[in-house]
């Protein structure tokens, strides 16, 4: 059930100093689908996710080989403008990280960064993004209050809205629901399902049920290797690799 490929990794290798964290990862992420990355702790899920928007550039001593294409262009190519790449490929972190500013300014931060100045336009973007992130009704009366006063679940949806405000093509979510209660988690899962009409979502999750509930494709990582990648339903019902089967049936660390 795969559409167009939006991101393609070919033999991607990554080292943190001497630590070989990604070993020859090759996969094709389809457009307008939700792709889940699963695997035990330390297997390289976050590392892979962060290569997609080059957040790994911040880590000193990182070395990357192989190819990573976004719409056919090399993400690590010599004339890539990282700020534009990150505008196209947005990210939501594990821990909600709203800036210590008003709710409005949080959402307007990205558009302002990219040059939107008109108040009317910003008002528009703020409302639309908050609606898209299913949090508008909860915050519309307190847009000028600090974002730090929101609950954890609200903060996370605010961060999603903030990421959506720059109109990315791809949204990366790194265990974005792991710190949330079931109700907030449910809201964000619903949100992801709605968003996939317009965005491509790549999410890291430790929660296998979540992967089954929301994702179309699943990639299973183990010790830096991509063990298996395929249709979520197929992968969970008929895993091809013994290690995948062990992991999804809970027989694995």
């Amino acid at each position: 059930m795969s559409g167009n490929t939006i991101i393609e990794a070919k033999g991607l290798e990554l080292w943190y100093g001497d630590n070989h964290a990604l070993k020859g990862v090759s996969l094709e992420i389809p457009e307008n689908r939700i792709t889940a990355l699963i695997g035990p702790s330390g297997c390289g899920k976050s590392t892979f996710l962060k290569t997609l928007n080059r957040m790994n550039d911040l880590v000193p001593g990182v070395r990357i080989e192989g190819q990573l294409l976004y719409n056919g262009e090399d993400i690590y190519g010599p004339d890539v403008d990282v700020t534009r790449l990150r505008k196209q490929i947005g990210m939501v972190f594990q821990k909600a990280n709203p800036f210590p500013m008003s709710i409005y300014d949080n959402i307007a931060y990205g558009p302002r960064t990219h040059g939107v100045r008109s108040r009317a336009k910003l008002d528009d973007i703020v409302e639309r993004s908050l609606r898209d992130a299913a949090i508008w009704d909860e915050v519309k009366d307190r847009l000028n209050k600090s974002a730090l006063g929101l609950s954890g679940g609200q903060q996370q949806r605010l961060c999603i809205a903030r990421a959506l405000a720059v109109e990315p093509d791809v949204l990366l979510m790194d265990e974005s629901t792991s710190a949330l209660d079931p109700i907030s988690t449910g809201k964000i899962e619903e949100l992801a399902l709605e968003l996939k009409n317009r965005y491509t979502v790549v999410m890291v999750t430790h929660n296998m049920q979540q992967a089954v509930r929301v994702s179309d494709m699943t990639a299973f990582f183990l010790l830096g290797e991509l063990v298996e990648f395929g249709d979520t339903e197929r992968l969970f019902s008929h895993p091809r690799d013994k290690r995948t089967e062990d992991y999804i049936t809970g027989r694995f660390g």
Binding site: R86, N97, R162
Partner: protein, 295 residues
Amino acid sequence: MKGSITKGLSPRRRAYDITMRTLLYAAAALICALLVFLIGYILYRGIPHLSWQFLTSEESVIKDIEGILPAILNTVYVIIATLIFILPLGVGSAIYLTEYASNKRVVAAIEFATETLSGMPSIIFALVGVIVFCEFCGLGQSLIAGAFSLVMMTLPTVIRTTQESLKTVPLSYREGSLALGSGKWHMIRTVVLPSSVDGIVTGCILAVGRIVGESAVLMFTAGMGMRLAKYGDSVGEFFRNLFDSSGATLTVALYHYAKERADFDSAFAVAVVLLVIAFGINLAAKFAGRKLKKR
């Protein structure tokens, strides 16, 4: 009695407890008494000699007037001149060191150096100031030479405090900003600096405190002049007069009254003024820190 919570401490431990507590109270009381005595004595000796005229006039032998207006103004001028240099220099270097410099070992060495410098006796800065600014640069004993020497002296402190407050800005804010496609400087300007401005302001206020309290450096580099700067015919000329002339700040004036003239009444009056300023600065530092943090 295992598990009992009603049984008190054993007599020995209780005696120990009481002794320790008494000693601590005594120490605290002693310090407080000393402080109250000191402040009380300064106020007692100084306030009778404070008058509006004393605060607002230049001294005049002919008219037999004592006045510390020049010293008050000199203090203000030196503070402003020093801050003008220290803010961009100190904050700028701190930003460079914490956010941009990539060679960890060089940064560590510089941080060690700034720490050492900030603990150095001020008389050393006085010596360097005299040689570099007064003589080598030909500024003579002047307020501007004094301000430059104070920049040297307070720069390490401002760099350190700014660096410390930059480092407290969580990585998650930085990541959040970069992930939205900010450039590095944009990220620093919009996320890092606003969250650390309270620390930067506190550092500057502490620097002002050191400037007000400094005497050795200023005595050597800014001199002991007790006259008001001449206004001259233009603003430029006023500034030239102002910073060319030697001028005593309050602490230097205090020294002057006490040591050269044995006029302890005036010296204590100056001390009261300094006390009030120090109090004001500390209050401002507290208030600014709290107020800015809240936002």
